[in-house]
């Protein structure tokens, strides 16, 4: 099935309580699949097509504030519209899952795949000092698996998580093993797990208020310090990445999402030519695998980042490499996807000594 | 003929002296204390003519700060 469809099926099986979305290419299959599956008849999951991305993200805010497992999906221009709501969700310390199946921008751009929302996703995106937990799937299987992972992390840290997929993973079809269905949480489980949520008091002695507003600067600074402690904890515990052929690598390619698969093909060709290249694929874009990149920067002679953008993740790779080795970027934009030969050419262009 | 007599209490600390109760009172029972202010500097409302009160609760109905309690007795 398509990556977008896998997300929808995984959401039903995970026991998601509500999905609120708005159509936009190339992710509309998420909403379409959910409407076709009618999970309100089976698991009781609420599915609603909102009047806008703005309304949809604020429905997520409301649902998350009430302790429910809620998610939305969109694509780049729509995710821009959601940024206000995402900032509120982060500031109110609410768990939620947001899916961005990226297309090329800026502006209305193109409906073809892109990774140009890396900055937006990993640096906050909306106003204020905050971070999302950002997961970058590179296969349809990971599209399905990251629904559960995203929600588990979001609830563990009371922080919104994002699946940052590109249009390729959203649209391509692969075999996928869907997770075993599990029931939605009961009211009692929700009230135990989310004692802070606006569920209605139901006998609770005090009222729960979900807000991001605090006019007292001293208390607002304390709130911010608490957020930062959460982010530090996430950075310490939740870095995820995959490596291929890095043990003996002289050169390193860093790429995420579907592009990492193209790079792996390029690396296998390079190895056939006797050039030792390795791949690091960040699975969490935030927290970023800084330590592993710093370690590999002591080993390799050069690093190439390959992205469907003008060079965004390269900033984080360069910082993580502590400038020990040259870090170069190769990217295509506007919805163009490079092939393995182009990637290899780019590697040899930037590091001619590799091709001895 | 039974006679309805009333009385109100005003939480002087909570009162903001907006005067809406004074305007709403049909029997001119209430007034703002011209010679005193509460902790927050407001001339608070009080029963200036206690005998006039009929306990109709009009004052409480329009009070934005819910600082008026109303009591009523039917005297036979």
């Amino acid at each position: 099935m398509k990556g977008n469809e896998a997300i929808a099926h995984a959401a039903i099986r995970y026991g998601v309580d509500g999905y609120f979305g708005y159509p936009i290419t190339p992710q509309s299959e998420v909403l379409e699949t959910l409407e076709a599956e009618m999970p309100w008849e089976t698991t009781g999951m609420v599915v609603l097509q909102a009047e806008s991305e703005v309304a949809a993200i604020n429905m997520i805010y409301g649902g998350a504030a009430a302790g429910k497992a809620v998610m939305t999906s969109s694509s780049s221009p729509g995710v821009s519209l959601k940024q206000e709501g995402i900032s509120y969700i982060a500031a109110a310390e609410l768990p939620a899952l947001i899916v961005n199946v990226m297309r090329g921008g800026p502006g209305l751009g193109t409906i073809q795949p892109s990774q140009a929302d890396y900055f937006q996703a990993t640096k906050g995106g909306g106003h204020g000092d905050y971070h999302l937990i950002v997961l970058a799937p590179s296969s349809v299987q990971e599209m399905a698996d990251f629904v559960a992972l995203g929600f588990d992390l979001a609830f563990k840290y009371r922080n919104p998580a994002m699946i940052l997929a590109d249009g390729i993973v959203g649209q391509m079809m692969e075999k996928v093993v869907l997770p075993e269905p599990r029931p939605r949480r009961t009211q009692q489980q929700i009230e135990e797990q989310c004692s802070w949520a606006a569920t209605g008091r139901h006998g609770r002695k005090h009222r729960n208020v979900v807000t991001s507003l605090e006019l007292d600067p001293a208390r607002m600074e304390l709130n911010n310090e608490r957020f930062q402690r959460t982010y530090a904890e996430i950075e310490a515990n939740e870095v995820r990445f995959a490596t291929h052929y890095t043990d003996d690598a002289d050169y390193l390619i860093v790429a995420f999402g579907s592009v990492a698969r193209i790079c792996l093909k390029a690396i296998e060709e390079a190895r056939a030519q006797g050039v030792k290249v390795g791949l690091l694929r960040p699975i969490t874009l935030w927290p970023f695998p800084k330590a592993e990149i710093a370690r590999l920067a002591r080993q390799v002679k050069g690093i190439l980042t390959v992205e469907l953008n003008a060079g965004q993740m390269i900033d984080d790779v360069r910082l993580a490499s502590e400038c020990r080795v040259p870090v170069a970027h190769f990217g295509r934009m506007g919805g163009i996807v490079p092939n393995p030969a182009e990637v290899l050419d780019a590697l040899y262009n930037h590091f001619p000594e590799a091709k001895k | 003929m039974p006679k309805i007599i009333g009385a109100v209490t005003v939480d002087a600390l909570r009162c903001k002296g907006c005067e809406l109760c004074v305007v709403a009172c049909p029997t001119d029972t209430l007034a703002l204390r011209a010679d005193d202010v509460n902790d927050r500097g407001y001339h608070y409302a009080y029963m200036a003519r206690p005998d006039a009160c009929i306990g109709c609760a009009s004052c409480a109905a329009v009070c934005p700060d819910a600082c008026i309690e109303v009591y009523r007795v039917v005297e036979r």
Binding site: N58, G63, A66, N208 | R14, C18, A61, Y71
Partner: protein, 253 residues
Amino acid sequence: MTPEEIINPANRVYSRPRLLTEVNTHYCPGCSHGVVHRIIAELLEEMGLEDRAVGVAPVGCAVFAYNYIDVDWVEAAHGRAPAVATALNRLWPDNLVFTYQGDGDLAAIGTAETIHAANRGENIAIIFINNAIYGMTGGQMAPTTLIGQKTATTPYGRRVDLNGNPLNISDLLAQLEGTCLVTRQAVHTPAAVRKAKAAIKKAFENALAKKGTSVVEIVSTCNSGWKMTPAQSNEWMAEHMTARYPLGDLKNV
């Protein structure tokens, strides 16, 4: 009998509702918000809803409504309360979900969310405070500001050619199939307060009975923004505001 004899619990006919918290409100003296808050607290108590009522606070003067009424609350982004309420109610359908919004929140920045929630017939109650001005930010023009009315951003009075017409959004909402009650009330006299309370009670009953969206517009005052005393504001409201926003039911099915 002396007042001291009358004032004892046995004779009490009105007291502060239990669901109003002890804190003093931040509202200006004479502000309509306080009256409407009090009515809501009375109704939640009288209707036994404190355990399953969830309010959605707006951005504007009522942003701190959650500090004053002792039920669960969610503070929404500016204008988004009906979207937040949509999810709150769909995900906890047994709860009473109500929004509390001003004219800028509901009829300017949140017009889309308001109209679409009402059009879907979400089972929520919308309490809409229309005081024809942006109070919190210092008295700027609102969508409901009257022609000729002076505000911080219409210092010479609102002009149709420059600023457009006052938006009568309740009339729009009454046209939608999803609404079951759209009514315009006021709280400037004891009689008006009683009628407004009855209207909000009906709105809560409709939400619980899943009859669709109820909208109770309270034509209100902002004496600080209007630069009048509270009593003068009530008179001005009764004379000018109700001419443009006539009181009464627009729809009640």
